[in-house]
Amino acid sequence: MSDDGGHRADHTWSPRVVAFVCNWCTYTGADLAGTSRLKMDPNVRVIKLPCSSRVNPLFIIKAFERGADGVIVSGCHTGDCHFSTGNYHARRRFAILHDLLQFMGVEEDRVTFAWVSASEGNKWQQVVNETTARVQLLGPCGMLPGAKGGAE
């Protein structure tokens, strides 16, 4: 594993994971996980959006470029979208993004797509912990300026 360019405060490297979640299902589910005092790795920074379809693939690319080692994208289960069809459109976009990122050499485990409903606090805990564990194994992502391959 390589040096992450000085972004760690302590002596062991811990991944930085950004989660783009929809307000209605996943954010509420994450909230439930919190109020239920479920133990979760602290590595995930949550960004709340109105719907999974608001997630522009650029957000994910930008997150990696700005220091994220892993990304979670999560919304309502299909059929349950607060805006009825948002997640159907999002699903198509994410499918191609998922395939392309792998083709470009980003490990599949770095980006986790999930449907987490408002009542699935346990599932959110699982997604967070499993993603963090998988990204921990992969090491830092190389897209920061100054990281592997960064040009001066």
């Binding site: 693939p57 650029l58 690319i61 930008k62 470029e65 299909t78 059929g79 069809t85 159907y88 459109h89 699903r91 198509r92 976009r93 994410f94 499918a95 191609i96 993004l97 998922h98 395939d99 392309l100 990122l101 792998q102 083709f103 470009m104 050499g105 980003v106 490990e107 599949e108 986790t112 797509f113 999930a114 449907w115 997604v127 190389g142 897209m143 920061l144 300026p145 990281a147 391959g149 960064g150 040009a151």
Partner: protein, 290 residues
Amino acid sequence: MKPLQELAHKLLSEGTVKVVIGYEEGPRGVRPAFITDAAQAEKLIFDIRCVQNLAAYLNPRRTQVAQLGKAAVVVKGCDARAVAGLIREKQIDRDGVVVIAVRCGGVLQNPETDTVLTSETVSARCGGCAVREPSLHDYMVGELPAEPPVNPQRAEQIAALERMSPAERWNFWDEQLSRCIRCHACREACPMCFCLKCTAEKSQPQWIDSSATLQANRAWQTMRVLHQAGRCVDCLECERACPEHIPLGLLARYVADAVERRFDYVASDDPSVPAPFGVYRADDEEEFIR
């Protein structure tokens, strides 16, 4: 190509169109022609060296062409798909263009050096072509040649990349994209890149740094090919324009294949077929979603 020349002559002398965009002999091989005078229609040719996608000149950003007036455009089947894409996305009106389709048997990968069409010299995108007589046309000219040979080169390159580990693939693209100088020639030459303000040029906020650093280059190429998903017709204008000879066609082909595999959609020559990201199916694949 007599029928083409006669048709162009007719369209121009009757005033149906103000310009016929086609192919002509240039100082270094075939080049796009803009015939505005019926007497010049005899310059129009069509042969295996005609690789350019002339639909690019219908892109509304080519204002120097638009100001000539209503155009007729000579298209191969693949180019007709780009015209259909521009119509589908409301960049041009169907009535605003006359489409002259030419029956095609494939074009050369390197028209500057090769003269005969074989499985080694044919463009990798020609094999298995399903639009040799595109449904989008006002006129169709030429005899239907034999089916183009299949050049396996690009499919092999993609398969080789898929067999690599993620780290090897990452390094491959690092090497290729380290040459990118962010000139955006790929975007400018593309028929389907018609945005007046490209995402890469937005500065408030700035999504993609404009400097040619490796990470910004990756972000740019990833974003551009994503924006082309389902829209790219594999004409390879991007690759021909790239001054750094980056194999952009590999990315374009990979995404087109992914769109076809997942949504059973290929950039259609029928403008009424909806774009894949404007629609969905309840049973779209979601094996990658936890």
